[in-house]
């Protein structure tokens, strides 16, 4: 198989030269001098006409408008086909989830040709960013690309005089949404109501309720107000120097950012605030060694420093949201922290008295390339070799301690004490990673002759990745890839791409996979009958088909190999000495291999009047050999079951873009709408299938992110003794009544069925802007529609059960019977499934560029000031919190910036 595939790749390449031969024999040489918009694809760029795979590219310039602290947070609403969800807000730990076309995992990210983390990039250093979506676009990435690929090219120097761009911006941030939780009076009233509903006496007397907030004995604490500031600051600065001569071209980018957290209390002896700052430096050098030889050296270094309280952010925010407002005082009259035996999580104390946790990460990424133009042998031919080494080292340290909390006695005369103040304990740890690889590339771009044009690429890459100190052996991959694009008169285009890709984690017979793809397109606007047409200024139809892989490390290393692993300890003997066990590890799966996606893509691109552009792609992704644990093995086997290639998932959808651009003399405006729609179905997942009556329990056939629970029929009204008994606790009037799916007159886990789908159906991006004289305005809206959110289990919507809860939710008319502990109403059910739709103003920027005469006197090229807002407002059917963020943790922020761009 291996040899056959190598031969295939070779043939593909040789075949391209035969075409060249034919073309050459007929066609006289002619230079094509017209400059044409080029689109970056995998390892190279192609003219727009020749792009027949599904890829979408934007410039880094565009992303500077989103100027977020985390590069990934600039990607909202920018690409048709990319779902971005903000699920975190902690400084330095605020990456969103990225999902290409509804794939289940993050895309592969490639920076300057190598697999790298993109979180640390700044928009200012980016030349272009391209999303590769279909099999033919990602075809060169073999086993790593089935979830799509983001390809990022950083800026390089140009042969020009020194140019300096400087941007500085500073701003304020505050939470996107604050949670409105019950105040003491509401909380106590609801508590009493819940107690009465449970046939228990009321806990709080009317006088206690009315006294709330009046004295330390009757506290009414706004925990968020105590623990969070209204706003906090953040700043970024970036300096780019770009220039070059005939012999050397360089780009140096220097960046700094600072992000201060939102916590209000501060530790008097050490820094315990959540904050991050980072310094980064990039220098991309191209050295013209000979007329035909370029040596490139790209260095990137960064120091990333983060700090936070010793307590986890989740716990701090959990305390802020769910601590009853009347639980205790933040600080007692005697100066100690408040706390009780039940609630020992005083958020103020957790922030200012528990210590801190600090990390310092240093990156050094280096890439070296030598490219030799072989034009003397054959015009258009070049080879290159490259080597890269990426290193990171992290040092973690911190201090933590326990603290004393006291509870005021109900008569106000004394205290109960909990815990004690201890000294700070120090801890530290470190880890590091290293990623290296070599690559070799052969590129041939045949000059267009008589309408024939051809581009061919063959490359080899070998990577080694040491992920952490703990992994003793590196993760290895090898990739041999080739691509050929042939076009006739830029009307008919064919692209072949393939990858022969190997991974160390499979047994010999599955070590290499071959992933071919084919794509074709017809640019009908280049046909003679349309070239003069002014209505249709551009038009193309395209389609692609191919397979691509994914090699997740689901079973640990070398899963084809039967290991024996640690089997726990036990104490024996008179001195209770510890003995260590060994036992069989997970059952070896000698047949494990990659998952395969077979993708079909069909698209249309249309541009009218050179102003209105439209493109759309329809896609089907049939993922087979999906790795699931095969629960169909008999349970008497007596061993941990491995993942096996038994699943099938299909995913279909449409993405696209509609844009309008008006260029006038004084007034330019544009608008872009992007959309992605997708839906997946599990065809096969190795579950132990139920047959007959209970087959609704099966998950096969449902979406991957399906939500399971009970269907709510209504509420108990007191008179229905004949209703099926519900197995979660005694039911009373006002409790939720569930549907008895299997008619056995008892509601239990066998009545759970699919009640929602957690996957968003539609992601929408709308970008619009205008330029009038020196004034510019741009806005970006992003929305998501049709995602179901399950709220059961979320403390914020379960008043009293976990403590405090969201005010408006707890006071809803249709809220089921309140209770102190009965979990009947808090089972996953249709009552708790909330369809979520939202539209967010992701950013809004207004700028003014000063009159050129004035600034010329200051020897500036341009001077612009701007104000920018991020996440400014949200429209949603869900009004109780940020519709994107249901976790309890550090919230995403909205940000207001003021900044200047200066160029020299």
């Amino acid at each position: 198989m291996k040899n056959i595939t190598i031969s295939c790749v070779t043939l593909l390449f040789i075949c391209s030269f035969s075409i060249y031969g034919q073309a050459q024999s007929v066609v006289p040489e002619k230079e094509d001098s017209i400059s044409i918009q080029e689109i970056e694809i995998a390892y190279g760029a192609v003219e727009k006409d020749l792009l027949v795979s599904s890829a979408y590219s934007i410039t880094g310039e565009l992303l500077t408008k989103s100027g977020s602290m985390n590069f990934e947070n600039t990607l909202f609403g920018r690409f048709p086909g990319l779902f971005v969800n903000q699920r975190a807000g902690h400084p330095g730990d605020d990456s969103p989830t990225l999902r290409v076309r509804g794939a289940l995992n993050s895309p592969l990210t490639i920076v300057d040709g190598y697999e790298r983390d993109i979180t640390y990039l700044s928009p200012e250093e980016i030349e272009s960013i391209t999303l590769l979506k279909d099999a033919s676009a990602v075809g060169l990435y073999g086993m790593k690309a089935a979830n799509g690929v983001l390809v990022i090219i950083t800026k390089r120097g140009m042969q020009q005089k020194n140019r300096i761009h400087f941007t500085v911006q500073t701003g304020l941030q505050s939470p996107v949404n604050t949670m409105n939780v019950l105040n003491a009076q509401n909380y106590m009233t609801l508590y009493n109501q819940a107690a009465v509903n449970d046939e228990l006496p009321e806990k709080y007397s009317p006088s206690e309720i009315s006294a709330a907030g009046t004295s330390p004995q009757y506290p009414d604490v706004d925990w968020q107000g105590e623990a969070l500031r209204k706003t906090s600051g953040l700043s970024r600065a970036n300096l780019t120097v770009n220039g070059g001569s005939q012999f050397i071209r360089y780009l140096v980018d220097f960046g700094f950012l600072y992000n201060k957290g939102i916590y209000k209390p501060s530790n008097p002896v050490l820094n315990s605030d959540a904050q991050m700052n980072r310094l980064n430096l990039r220098s991309n050098f191209d050295l013209q060694v000979t007329k035909s030889t370029v040596f490139s050296m790209d260095l990137y270094g960064a120091v990333d420093d983060r700090n936070q309280p010793a307590q986890y952010a989740e716990n701090i925010w959990h305390a802020m949201y769910t601590l009853p407002p009347n639980a205790f005082n933040v600080v007692n009259p005697d100066g100690t922290y408040g706390g009780t035996s039940i609630y020992t999580n005083n958020p103020v104390a957790m922030i200012e008295a528990s210590g801190n946790s600090h990390s310092n990460t240093r990156f050094l990424n280096a890439g070296f390339h030598l490219r030799q133009d072989l034009g003397v042998i054959l015009k258009g031919l070049s080879v290159s070799i490259g080597y890269f080494v990426d290193n990171s080292t992290s040092i973690y340290d911190g201090k933590w301690r326990n603290f004393l909390m006291r509870q005021l006695l109900s008569d106000g005369t004394g205290y109960y004490s909990y815990g004690e103040n201890t000294e700070y304990y120090d801890w530290s740890s470190s880890d590091g990673s290293r990623f290296t690889g070599i690559d070799a590339e052969l590129v041939y771009k045949m000059p267009e002759r008589n309408g024939h044009s051809l581009q061919a690429l063959a490359r080899f890459q070998s990577d080694q990745e040491w992920r952490t100190n703990a992994d003793l052996t590196p993760y290895l991959t090898r990739n041999l890839g080739a691509r050929m694009i042939y076009a006739y008169k830029k009307r008919y285009i064919i692209q072949l791409a393939s990858s022969y890709y190997g991974s160390e984690q499979y047994a010999d017979k599955y070590r290499y996979g071959f992933f071919p793809s084919v794509a074709g397109g017809w640019v009908f606007s280049n046909e003679d009958f349309l070239t003069e047409n002014t209505t249709i200024s551009y038009g193309k139809v395209k389609a692609s088909y191919g397979s691509i892989g994914r090699n997740p490390y689901v079973n640990g290393r070398y899963p084809y190999y039967q290991y024996y692993v640690n089997g726990g300890t036990y104490q024996v003997g008179a001195d209770w000495s510890i003995i260590y066990g060994y036992q069989p590890g997970m059952l070896a799966n000698p047949d494990i291999k990659w998952e395969t996606s077979t993708m079909l893509n069909a698209g249309l691109e249309l541009e009218l009047f050179e102003q209105l552009s439209f493109e759309t792609d329809f896609f089907i992704d049939q993922r087979s050999d999906v790795l699931y644990i095969n629960y169909r093995h008999p349970s008497v086997l007596g061993v941990n079951l491995p993942y096996e290639n038994i699943g099938k998932i299909s995913n279909v959808g449409i993405d696209g873009r509609l844009g309008y651009k008006n260029t006038g003399d004084n007034f330019n405006w544009f608008s872009d709408v992007l959309w992605t729609f997708s839906k997946n179905t599990i065809k096969e997942m190795g579950e132990a299938l139920h047959e007959g009556e209970l087959s609704y329990l099966n998950r096969t056939g449902n979406p991957v992110n399906a939500i399971y629970g009970y269907e709510v029929e209504g509420y108990f009204d007191g008179g229905d003794e004949s209703a099926p008994s519900q197995s979660f606790g005694p039911t009373r009037e006002g409790d939720l009544k569930y549907t008895d799916q299997n008619n056995d007159h008892i509601i239990d886990t066998r009545d759970m069925t699919m009640i929602g789908d957690g996957q968003p159906k539609l992601d929408l991006g709308v970008r619009a802007g205008m330029v009038v004289k020196g004034f510019d305005l741009e806005l970006l809206l992003q929305g998501q529609f049709g995602r179901d959110q399950l709220l059961s289990g979320n403390p914020l919507y379960q008043p009293i059960i976990y403590g405090n809860a969201a005010t408006e939710y707890a006071l809803r008319e249709d809220f089921p019977r309140l209770t102190l502990s009965n979990m009947n109403n808090y089972q996953p059910s249709t009552y708790w499934v909330q369809p979520i739709h939202f539209l967010k103003l992701r950013n809004l920027e207004m700028g003014y560029s000063f009159n050129s005469r004035l600034i010329q006197k200051l020897s500036m090229e341009s001077f612009r000031i701007f104000v920018r807002g991020i996440n400014l407002f949200t429209l949603s059917n869900w009004k109780y919190s940020d519709p994107e963020f249901f976790e309890i943790g550090y919230m995403p922020m909205k940000v207001y910036y003021l900044g200047v761009n200066i160029s020299f």
Partner: protein, 608 residues
Amino acid sequence: MKKSRIYHLFIPGMIICLVLFLGSCEFDEFLEKPAGADITIDTLFSNTENAQQLIFSLYHDSYFGANNIVLHWWDEPQNWGSWSEIGEDLYFPEFFTTKAYVDGTFNPTSGHLYPINYLFDAVRKCNIFIERAETIPTQSAIEDEYIRRMTGEAHAHMAYQYFKGFRLWGSLPWINKVLEGGEEPYPRIAFSTLIDSMVARLDLAAEMLPEQWDGQWTGRFTVAAAKALKAKILVYAASPLYNGPLPSYASGYDYPEVLGYGDDDPERWKRAADACKEAIDAATDAGHEIYTGSVPKENLYHLAINLTKEHIIYQRFRPSTNVEGGWAYCYNMMNWPFGIGWHLRTDVTYQPTIQHVDGYQMINGKFPIEGYVDNDGTNPIISSAGTDAGYDDQTYWKDRDPRFYNNIIYHGSTFGETYNTKLVNFDSNPDVPNRTHGDWPAFKTSLMVHKFVNEALGADPSVTYQPVHPIIRLADLYLLYAEALNGYNDGPNGEAITYFNLIRSRSGMPGYDAENYRGESDKEKFENAIKYERKVEFFMEGQRYFDLRRWKDGDELNLEMAGLQIYNDVVSRININWTNVFPERMYFHPFHADWVNNTPGLYQNPGY
């Protein structure tokens, strides 16, 4: 044209060279797994030192644990609840995983079914060892003997796994080789065959195991342990649930042979009694004895917190202090009167009900409570013997079987005397001084568990505790022996009463007096005496649930729980609004639907 021809040759030639170059990089070797210090089955069996580690892993909590107390709650089987909290008449406010077991809603898709994979994981390890033991190279006769002993351990562990399994489900597939997948189905074997198979393994183990291990190895299976387990299995097998006709609810079930013998045969009691006697003799020979190291009324408490010669098979937990994060303390400290010692925690894990307390005899051997009006725990019927002995609800704790004090913490009891001068005070009125009530709303019965709660821990967080929980102790064998003799002889003979009284006198209780027990016949009276004895003696040892089921006394597990409330020192009984429900089908637990769907021959039990 000539020039282009050269190119034609040159270019493909270069490509071929490139491919040859890449091919010569030896693709496969680059991606080959590097040789390392991996442990494989061959390294494991390359010497006794390594091979013993496979046996060691069988003693890990996941497999060896009796699951009687939730101690190491991160170790998984314990996550599935503890048999103690299910079996005893305890209120357990944080039901988590045990809820479905006690409220009658258990079904084959319940999320927290006790996982069967632990059983078969252990069986697989036993089979691997037994199959490979002979391949271990040895240097000396001592090593040969060690391998023989370990093979005995593997047989004993295998029987122990099936013992834990058949108590839940009835018979199971008997896996006596290492499965690779793809074998013909292994159906559940007949109950009688399973019993005989376990007994055969234990007989084999008894021949191979040592009478005692050297000091460094104590705690591993011995001859006495194998015989004790065999005795226990045979008493179970002779008990009414299995030794009798099929339960009526299971009539029409397709596989009656997996549930029991199907008929009643007193010879099974004989077989059990013989095995008990043999085990008692072996244990005595090996130096096991009934613990009497403290004063009689405190013997049981000290037995619970120490490793003694009475322990034959037992589970040890990691010795630790609270300071070093010893989680073994966790549940100890959650059965702790608030504010005594350094530990301040209000939540209470196990709360005995008043019905449990009512079950204790007076110190004179009489039962003070006869029953309840309408089965209502707040409305007791006080027996004449109780009245004679001065029983009153306000002083319910007075003059009871000493094991009551060993098992229960109650309002007015002493606790942590070496460092604490207060009495336990569960008064619910917050204005009462010196309360040890933490005002936790889920503390409902005003009673706590004392057994296994090491009072010394409260003195200082750095006190080290070595928790140990009995799986079979000598007292168990005595009572099993007395029960088997009674079953075989249709009444207690002298020997049965002698062994029975040894257990009572150890705790300072008077000997057997048939008058104190209900029953139509001598046999039934003695049966009831055994049932009382096992209930109070093995409280919290994870036996009760299985005892009640083998006696077909599942009705006892239907209980509307009641507790106490103390206000200004006045005791009143209260209903705590929790009812345990035991449907008959729970005599045999369900297999999870997934296991049944996957495993041909793993027939679902009746009623599910």
